[in-house]
Subunit: 327 residues, 4 copies
Amino acid sequence: MCGGGDAVTHDRRNPEAAIAEAAKTFSNWGRWGDDDRLGTLNFLDEGKRRQGAALVRRGVSFSLAQQFNMDGPQRGWRRRTNPVHTMLDTGADAALGTQGMPHGIGGADDVVAMPLQCSTQWDGLGHIFDHGKAWNGRPAELTVTSDGDLVTGIEHMASQIAGRGVLLDVGRVVGTDGELPDGFAITEEHLQATAADHGVTVERGDIVLVRTGQLARVRRGGWGEYAGGPAPGLSFTTAGWLHRSEIAAIATDTWGFEVRPNEFDDAFQPLHQVVIPNMGLLIGEMWDLEELARDCAEDGVHEFWLAAPPLPITGAVGSPVNPIAVK
Amino acid sequence: MCGGGDAVTHDRRNPEAAIAEAAKTFSNWGRWGDDDRLGTLNFLDEGKRRQGAALVRRGVSFSLAQQFNMDGPQRGWRRRTNPVHTMLDTGADAALGTQGMPHGIGGADDVVAMPLQCSTQWDGLGHIFDHGKAWNGRPAELTVTSDGDLVTGIEHMASQIAGRGVLLDVGRVVGTDGELPDGFAITEEHLQATAADHGVTVERGDIVLVRTGQLARVRRGGWGEYAGGPAPGLSFTTAGWLHRSEIAAIATDTWGFEVRPNEFDDAFQPLHQVVIPNMGLLIGEMWDLEELARDCAEDGVHEFWLAAPPLPITGAVGSPVNPIAVK
Amino acid sequence: MCGGGDAVTHDRRNPEAAIAEAAKTFSNWGRWGDDDRLGTLNFLDEGKRRQGAALVRRGVSFSLAQQFNMDGPQRGWRRRTNPVHTMLDTGADAALGTQGMPHGIGGADDVVAMPLQCSTQWDGLGHIFDHGKAWNGRPAELTVTSDGDLVTGIEHMASQIAGRGVLLDVGRVVGTDGELPDGFAITEEHLQATAADHGVTVERGDIVLVRTGQLARVRRGGWGEYAGGPAPGLSFTTAGWLHRSEIAAIATDTWGFEVRPNEFDDAFQPLHQVVIPNMGLLIGEMWDLEELARDCAEDGVHEFWLAAPPLPITGAVGSPVNPIAVK
Amino acid sequence: MCGGGDAVTHDRRNPEAAIAEAAKTFSNWGRWGDDDRLGTLNFLDEGKRRQGAALVRRGVSFSLAQQFNMDGPQRGWRRRTNPVHTMLDTGADAALGTQGMPHGIGGADDVVAMPLQCSTQWDGLGHIFDHGKAWNGRPAELTVTSDGDLVTGIEHMASQIAGRGVLLDVGRVVGTDGELPDGFAITEEHLQATAADHGVTVERGDIVLVRTGQLARVRRGGWGEYAGGPAPGLSFTTAGWLHRSEIAAIATDTWGFEVRPNEFDDAFQPLHQVVIPNMGLLIGEMWDLEELARDCAEDGVHEFWLAAPPLPITGAVGSPVNPIAVK
């Protein structure tokens, strides 16, 4: 295993310059017209869905979501709590006959309150801004107000996210005992070596899932700083590959998709700043890739039919999601 | 068009007896073992997923979810509100530079609070009880407590609900101008006539979508009593067909799946009482079938790939869902 | 009874000019220093509390809060819902012994989710802005961000709001059958006539309660448009009196304190725009003055001890409150 | 300073027996009739309010509430989170002119979601049960259902809680540097010694505030296990004093009012089990007594006028509260 850090060629002291250069070089502003609300999801077309569906050979399905409950990783940063699920009616009320319903029918109902970023989720295009600009160059303040994302709300992605999924199990191929250490920066070379090892090719319009193994680790040892602390993740230097590969979306088993600590002395999620508002890339975080990865390691097939439909909450800048992979 | 009511052969004054008979006749208790948590989802197997995936011919995808927002149909019954979506950070804060982040990055975050039954959803197996019994004969009070559904929580269905979908557009085939009137009871005959008209066959393990047209109507005229009032829907008499057909799940474009007012003098959702706790049938409600139905009417193909993964909220007795159909 | 509208001397077509003039004339900016967070609460001093306490003669107490529940008046405007109260544990669980606690102890716990403006409440000083300026001339965008009111959050008023309360039952004195009709603009003359009728004097530092009778009316006839629709209330022309009288706070039994429709052709709560950001006046809304008013009518005493402590929710721009009057 | 533990004369191995004996001995069931909803609040009468108001000598007021925010002590036990306060509109939106309102008015609105037990609060009479019985001997399952407390909801206490407050600063009198250590059991002797030291007498109908100093300690060192862990608090043996003294209510600066660990080998809040369902005693927890206690230590006056009105959330088994003490 080699450390990922050596691939960083930017000045660690100047994230502003590195971000500005990458943002300009890898921008997709205007690529799909002024009114675009989909970003790189435009790469996921009907042909890609036909290709994806054809990957269903055994008919076995995998949920890639963590469970949504109070035992999740959130610890309050940015008022992000774990989901609070409460009952409006229960079986106890039903059994005791206190529900006031006829002919022996009883019911249970429930409610959830949760930050949309609390667990397995998609980042919407309105989730991150670069110097006050949202995706496609729109003014952030006119795009995402207190009323929500008025332009690129997640509801606009309600029908599209079904296509070919590709798993790059970097943890298994590059890591130790299947896991990358916290702080490990995954470079383009690591991604390509992993794909080569798997015998899979990443293509235009794919949904790429990168497994680092961090989720397996915190499941053994406790959440610790899973929500925001050190983690393996994509290097800032992968921006070019993310742009060039023309993938539709990418998701990881970590809180923040990119390596943490970030690869600059004083920075916060610089790759997000490049790829969401400038590239229009759809990012998934906190996906549970464990069971799928075990299956892929067993049968050697790392491509599959993937549907990951967000909840169309009007104006949301993200959405919890239960992605389903079928092989 | 004939009214659906004539098929009802039960004594309108005695829902208790009719429910008891149907519950006994159409029970699946024990069919999949004492520990079963899936009910009729057991019918949806790997072969069914292969069959479903093979239906992806054009690669076009449809979201079958209504949007989740404050403009929804809920009016407070059982404390069911519409979803409340609020922002934790906005583009305005980002543009004004008040977020305290480095190098020009800005972010928006959000929160939702919603009853799990507020909009397009699955009813979990713990949602309805029959005389204090939950699915598979379990005591309701030990199954669904204030801590949620301890046995059949929706999280157990996280990976399964992807397979062959079949649309039965009863509104188009039997109704007037594509819609059934409120109070119209859809019988087995209506379902079969619709399938015959479509040239489609309902098979074991299918997810059946029944369009009544009510959603189209309230979209024109306002929600009115969509959440709980009169509606077209399945007749109580379809319990036999629902059992015999061995479908995995059924969903409608109405609030409550079954016809309302119910077909007894004093009753509340008697078909629910038979099919959820006794038959173990998965029911979807408030699905938006309009766009899919138009497409099916155009190309004459009423079968498709369908993935409708619930959010795995631990212990939930239901889940909002964004079902994706791909043809 | 005379219509209140005749006192309006402003140009109905030009709210901008009328508001600008009143805002300038009745401004208290700087009056209590640049760092002030209390506005007119500064008038409520220790002497006032001694005076208020001395008004406790019989020892009888009145709650001036409406109940907080789903049956409230909110209908979704600005995402304002009624309070949603859900249980985390219940007596049913306790009775059934499913709580896992020792020696027969059982417990019930609960949660509430509610807009802070949903029912009986105080408007904080950060609730309303005038052309981007908050109370004391502060920039609105630096005062109230997505993190809340960083300067004048309601928590700064946690200890102060206890003193002398004065009820002006304008409904009883000026209205018909104890009620003013919707759209009735209460002028300074009405306030003074009411005080004279009661034999009470409004003094510096008082908390003035103005009863219109609208709450009694909607309790008989249903909420209707209580939350935002037509209502009796203070005339825009009372701004001078509100300023000159140096009262600490004012509260009404209506949704919005001022008369609605507002007294301009195209306007929205112009008196709020003058008195909150410019005058720094604390406003209470949706108070239930019925029982207190009946008692005052009976014993002829319209002054009392009043404690109306807001919940110190950090950064809140308002707070639900249960005001207690003691006579 | 002596350890409080020596006063415990019960068999540590048999909480069931000790609780049963105390419950029977100190029961108030039926004392105020079968329909009673107030418990010991019945002791707080009009004379008590006159006495309390007469204690206002200087006019200085104190808030006894902690602030309600995400930085509170809750860590998820029983799904108790800290309060989540989110904005519906902000000053940023107003300053940027994106709110769509006329004549330069802008507004900010907000929402809170919180467990009613999350911070400074009253325990309602429906909060604790003894072997399935609620206050006054009512069946727990018929008293507190998923719909809330149908009988003794906190709304029934909306108007009463204003009277004479007495501070017993046990931390200052008995502790070291003003604080009792965690696990210190406060006995009747400690309470009486403290009252004697203060020169104050606890009387029938009083609201007694017991300061342990724990809140001061965790403010210095971090919350740690404040929410549920070891703490100083009332000994189980004080049940007799609590009953005999006929106080209306008691509140502490700790999470749980009674000493933790509890004074039995395997127990959970045994004093609660005696005093809430059997005695009908109103208990306040997590009150911030620091500023008031400093003032009382300075002027030597430990009695005051106290108003602590709960929010009348219909059916709630507790309520956040901002108690106001005036001296």
